[in-house]
């Protein structure tokens, strides 16, 4: 770029960035596209959560208490929401390992990057496994169906399966995505084809952190509310 607007005051910088006949975002195109994809995904998940809010307001039947529905007894007394809490910690841990993978990627520490990405994918797979357990428990033991359940408002099932199902699908896709990128880092694909630029790791990281971000909202609005 001939001139860089970095030195300008922030708002003038925005004006210069958008007004000039050139690229607006000074980031690799893949990263800009990932952000725009994540923005569209934000709207999809928001539509799910807002329709959940809507049906929960409209129902005249009491909403099942998530604290009791998702309780799990490990030996003795049922502990409220314990599985969901563990899932939350697993996902946060995976976000941490991913952040470190991105960091080591930029330091060109190939081995650590690959190992941390694989750890992230394994934690993601663990999360999906726990979710499969949770779904099985709800469907088989508690009789929750998309059209009704024994505990209360019929809309509970459809909201639950749509929201967590769509999120679980994102986690599963993310696990595959991470393994593909990790393989490419490990086999030296980016060294041969992109001059040793590991920005793909950061882009995969953006997706993974977004999946964690969505879970923060699901945890708060669906499980805790």
């Amino acid at each position: 770029m001939a001139h860089d607007a970095s030195a300008l005051p922030p708002l003038q910088q925005v004006a210069t960035d958008f007004a000039a006949d050139k690229q607006a975002f000074h980031v690799p195109w893949g990263k800009a596209m990932m952000w725009i994809f994540l923005l569209s995904d934000t709207f999809i998940f928001s539509c799910f959560l807002i329709s959940y809010m809507n049906v929960r307001i409209t129902t005249t039947v009491p909403w099942p208490n998530p604290s009791e529905v998702f309780a799990l007894s490990l030996g003795g007394e049922p502990i409220p929401l314990i599985l969901i809490a563990i899932m939350t910690f697993v996902l946060i841990t995976s976000s941490g390992t991913m952040a470190l993978a991105v960091n080591y990627g930029y330091r060109r520490d190939k081995k650590k990057t690959v190992l941390l990405m694989i750890a992230t994918a394994l934690l993601g797979a663990t999360f999906v496994g726990m979710q499969a357990f949770e779904w099985t428990k709800l469907i088989v033991d508690e009789g929750v169906r998309p059209w009704g359940n024994p505990m209360g408002a019929a809309q509970f099932g459809s909201s639950f399966f749509m929201i967590t199902g769509f999120h679980g699908m994102h986690v599963s896709a993310g696990v595959i995505y991470l393994l593909v990128i990790a393989t490419r880092v490990g086999t030296g694909y980016y060294d041969r084809h992109r001059g040793g630029n590991y920005e793909m790791v950061e882009i995969a990281g953006l997706y993974w952190h977004f999946v964690d971000l969505v879970w923060v909202f699901i945890f708060a609005f669906f499980y805790l509310w």
């Binding site: 725009i36 709207f43 807002i50 929401l81 930029y106 953006l206 952190h209 971000l213």
Partner: protein, 106 residues
């Protein structure tokens, strides 16, 4: 990109601190449920912890804090129109609830 700096390089300690913070905040939000807090206190605590966690993930883990303002605006401002949808659907939901009450619960 001739002016491309070497991506987003930050000290490891930044990530480790945020990681720890996310763990603590998650524990807090779990404790809100564990101690059966109710009413306004419960909701305000849930929302506060949720927004703090979301903020740290976006700002630090997703590097938004270090991106240029143009990208911040392009990504962070559009979701604000969701507030309008939330408002609409809340009003609509209340209306449906009242209608159902009037029609079915007599």
């Amino acid at each position: 990109m001739s002016d491309a700096k070497e991506g987003q390089q930050h000290p490891l300690t930044v990530y480790l601190w945020i990681w720890l913070l996310l763990f603590v905040l998650s524990t807090f939000s779990y404790l809100v449920d564990y101690f059966h807090l109710h009413g306004l206190l419960r909701w305000s605590l849930i929302i506060t912890f949720m927004l703090l966690k979301a903020g740290f993930i976006v700002a630090i883990f997703m590097h938004m804090a270090w991106e240029r303002l143009a990208l911040k605006f392009a990504i962070l401002l559009p979701p604000l129109c969701l507030l309008v949808l939330i408002g609409f659907m809340a009003i609509e939901g209340d209306y449906t609830f009242i209608t159902r009450g009037a029609a079915f619960l007599r």
